[in-house]
Symmetry: C2
Subunit: 99 residues, 2 copies
C-alpha cells in the first residue's frame, strides 16, 4: 500500500491511544510516566505512540533531567479536532454500528 505524508498524517490520528494522548496533553505537558498513569497503559505502548505523534510533529518534546515532557503542537491539532468534532456530531453519531 502506498504511504504518503497525507496518509501518515491521518493514520497517526486514527488510533484511540494516540487520540487519548492528545486529549491528555491538552491540559499541559506530561512526561511518559505521567501519561502511563493517567491512561493506564504500558510504558512501551505510550513510548511507541509518542514516537508516531512526534514523527508528524503533532507533539513537541522537552527534556528535563531524566524526564521527557511532551506537549501538543496546538497549531494544527486544535482546529482539526474542532472540525472533526463538528463533523462527527453532525454526521457520524451512529457510526460504530457496523452496517
Amino acid at each position: 500500500m502506498i504511504e504518503t505524508p497525507y496518509t501518515i498524517f491521518f493514520r497517526t490520528l486514527g488510533n484511540q491511544t494516540r487520540l487519548a494522548i492528545i486529549y491528555t496533553l491538552k491540559s499541559g505537558e506530561k512526561n511518559v510516566t505521567e501519561l502511563t498513569k493517567v491512561l493506564k497503559l504500558k510504558q512501551t505502548t505510550i513510548s511507541h505512540n509518542l514516537r508516531r505523534l512526534l514523527r508528524c510533529q503533532f507533539i513537541k518534546i522537552r527534556q528535563d533531567g531524566p524526564f521527557r515532557y511532551y506537549s501538543l503542537n496546538k497549531e494544527t491539532i486544535e482546529p482539526i479536532l474542532k472540525l472533526t468534532d463538528k463533523h462527527v456530531n453532525k454526521y457520524c453519531k451512529n457510526l460504530c454500528k457496523k452496517k
Copy 2:
C-alpha cells in the same frame, strides 16, 4: 482495538485510494465506472472504498438510472484538507523516510 467515531473518521481518510477518490471528486460528481477509469483501479476496490467514505458521510450519492453518482460533502473535507496541506508542508516534508 477500540473504535470510536473519531478513529473511524481519521482512518477513513488515512488511505491513499480514498484520498485519491476525494481528490477526483473535487472537480465534480463521478459514477463508479468513471472513477475506475480515472484512477485505474478495480471496480470492486472503488466500490469498497466509496462505501467507507459514505459511511462517514464524506461523500453523497445520487442515483441516475443504473448509474450512481458520488459527490463530495465539501463542508468538512475542504477545510480539513486545507489544514492538512498546511501542516504537511510545514512539518511533514520528509515524513516518508521512516526513521
